[in-house]
Amino acid sequence: MADKNETILAIRDLKVDFTTPDGTVNAVKGIDLDVRAGETLAVVGESGSGKSQTMMGIMGLLARNGAVTGSASYRGRELIGLPPAELNKVRGAKVTMIFQEPMTSLDPLYPIGRQIAEPIVHHRGGTYKDARKRVLELLELVGIPEPGRRIDSYPHELSGGQRQRVMIAMALANDPDILIADEPTTALDVTIQAQILKLLRSLQERFGMAIVLITHDLGIVRHFAERVAVMRRGQVVEQGTTADIFERPTSDYTKMLLAAEPHGRKAAPADTAPIILEGRDVVVDYRIGGGLFSGGKAMFRAVDRVTVRLREGQTIGIVGESGSGKSTLGRALLRLIPGAGYYRFGTTDISGYDRARMRPLRKAMQLVFQDPYGSLSPRQTVGEVITEGLLVHEPDLGRAERDRRAIAALKEVGLDPDARNRYPHEFSGGQRQRIAIARAMILKPKVVILDEPTSALDRSVQGQVIDLLRTLQQSHSLSYIFISHDLSVVRAMSDYVVVMKDGRIVEEGETDLIFEAPADAYTKALIGAAFHI
């Protein structure tokens, strides 16, 4: 076993700068960090903290406009400033890396077996044929079923979790000393996340390599890392053992990060509260494939006989992994996509309503999306974005009145009213999500469907958005349907939880009941994966 006191990678005064048209950006401002043999070091920070760029700098993977200075010494060998040909002897062999995006980190045009074999062939010599045996071993090792068949599969034929396993196989191929894992589970579903982390841990126990885990997710850090370095704005603000960091944090920033874990509970409305939105036996089918000449079309049932009743003042959390049908259900409940079943808004039966008849009701039923970047038109000012709905629903309002309403809505979501004359790209992710919320709130809705509204945000920003949503709910007696794969957020937001899998409800009930005493095996796995990794 490796000697855990031996430093194998010593980073000293490392700086990463990017030259941009607006001047030089100092992404990493001179950090010192040690990686010891066989340990798991977590580098934690929010987006823009420089945690990824530190590792990219060492590995020679910075964007063209980036430059790295300082020192990173791997077992006495300086890596910074090495010519590419020399660096190529270290990277991919002794120091390897896996990335956040398992979907795009593999070349879509080559079979996975060949891609795993590439570093073997290049670092050890031999032919692809020779490497095949080793590749099969590696696939077996990372738990790819039927390696003999899968070795010739293309990346698009594998799931996200399997692709990350393939990346891990690649990383292990040359018996590395250090494996850098850059947000390795961020893009994956929680149950898959847990499997990947378990795999990494068991491989580490077996082969003894050090793991540098770059992540924003404190939950993962707590259960996985031995030491933690917290980064903020290009600097290491605190480092120490995991226990120390979590129990006795010294820097204010670390304390803030720890406190930003969503907390609090929401009380359920009275049983007598009237039902504001109902979908009974909702079924949504998608047509897949089929063309003019190819004939046969297939149907895919995204939502299969699901019943949801939302009471006034209630928040129903809909949880499930990607492909579970939770977003589709949300859209079907708002009658944005066609679906079979019985639908009711307040006391009105809206089952047979077409688009035109739904329009007057839309004002009261709003939707906030996950992606605060994609859901705001880049060519409209924030003022135009948030008042657009008023033009449709309250066309009689004068310009001055619309402006007054825009100011009020922006104030309500905690933004400066001057924001209405600026464009969305001038705002951060959290601010954009506030703009998206203001756009919904300006119409004074009764029901808001929140589709992963916090998933693209940093934890500390997430907390603020959650607080905002709670305040709005109380002051306007709103009813929410909160769709998310993030169980800790759902737990803090909802008073009732629906767990979906493969288009069906597997379990539902009051939030505390679901989280404390889940009955269904899938719910148990989901909650186990999220909270006790």
């Binding site: 991919g92 390897t96 890396m97 795009t104 070349d107 879509p108 045009l109 590439e118 698009h156």
Partner: protein, 307 residues
């Protein structure tokens, strides 16, 4: 795969039919006719001609006759080259056009892809700017300027190459028209390649390849270039169809006996059958090359494989 090809060929039939129908009627609705010459023909001669070529029949009957004949491979006589059928004219000229077009295509493809790749790898360098300026020149300066200038320099001033004609068909005769024909397409290929190479080099999987210590030659050629070729391959179909069916301008300047002139001459003289023949020829080329490109696409990209 075979099923895919058969299905595509079957779907080509209605496409061709629609192309033929639209061109037939467009041609007939254009004012004038094949025998409206500057010096009018005596009425009796005119009447004779019209009857011989069945132009006195109702339009729908002419259309039905044309279609039924065309299906059997009879595209009728040409109205201006009176001793030849359209099939003979095209059959005679096509080999010249195709040979010239093939060389031009090779030049455009190899030259353009090489230049585009070099430009992408040296993005925003002096070399990149020079290559892209050259490409702009290639796109903006028309054939009828490039052709005579080339002749002036290489045939007349330097006397290195013949000024025109097919001669014995040796490469010497082909070089100048080939360059004139290829240049605009070369510029397009260079531009396309540069753009998609730059994008490909920024892909996440390129970062993976670099992170695993692969030599940059392997990163560029094996991983970036194959993906970057997809948009280039898409453009290959219309480009090949255009080059192989000849260019009126280049063939006229260099007096090449190809089919490129027929489309323009036919249209000007209202030589209905000749225009229709050329239209069908181009349509078939476009359809066939689109099919070939789709097959090639499937070979390059496993995600769109046709099974």
């Amino acid at each position: 795969m075979i099923a895919f090809v058969l299905r595509r060929l079957a779907s080509a039939v209605p496409t061709l039919f629609i192309v033929v129908t639209i061109s037939f009627f467009l041609m007939r609705f254009a004012p004038g006719g094949p025998f409206n010459l500057e010096r009018p023909l005596p009425p009796a001669t005119m009447e004779n001609l019209v009857r011989t070529y069945q132009l006195d029949q109702p339009l729908w009957r002419q259309y039905v006759t044309y279609i039924t004949n065309a299906v059997t491979g009879d595209f009728g006589p040409s109205y201006i080259y009176k001793d030849n059928t359209v099939a003979e004219l095209i059959g005679k000229g096509l080999p010249y056009s195709m040979e010239l077009g093939f060389y031009a295509l090779l030049l455009a493809l190899i030259g353009g892809v090489t230049m585009g790749t070099v430009a992408a790898l040296r993005q925003n360098s002096a070399l990149d700017f020079s290559i892209m300026s050259l490409a702009t020149v290639g796109t903006t300066v028309p054939n009828f300027v490039v052709g005579p200038v080339l002749t002036l320099i290489f045939a007349i001033a330097l006397s290195w190459l013949p000024a025109g004609g097919w001669g014995d068909g040796s490469l010497r005769f082909l070089i100048l028209p080939m360059i004139a024909l290829a240049l605009p397409q070369l510029a397009v290929f260079a531009r396309l390649t540069r753009g998609s190479m730059i994008e490909a080099l920024h892909a996440d999987h390129i970062r993976t390849a670099r992170a695993y210590g692969l030599p940059s030659r392997v990163v560029v050629v094996t991983h970036a270039m194959r993906g970057a070729m997809l948009p280039v391959v898409s453009y290959l179909a219309p480009c090949a169809a255009a080059l192989l069916t000849g260019s009126a301008v280049v063939e006229t300047i260099f007096t090449i006996p190809g089919v490129g002139r027929y489309f323009v001459l036919g249209a000007i003289n209202r030589d209905y059958t000749l225009v229709m023949g050329t239209v069908i020829l181009i349509a078939i080329f476009v359809i066939v090359f689109n099919l070939l490109v789709d097959i090639l696409y499937g070979l390059l990209d496993p995600r769109v494989r046709h099974d």
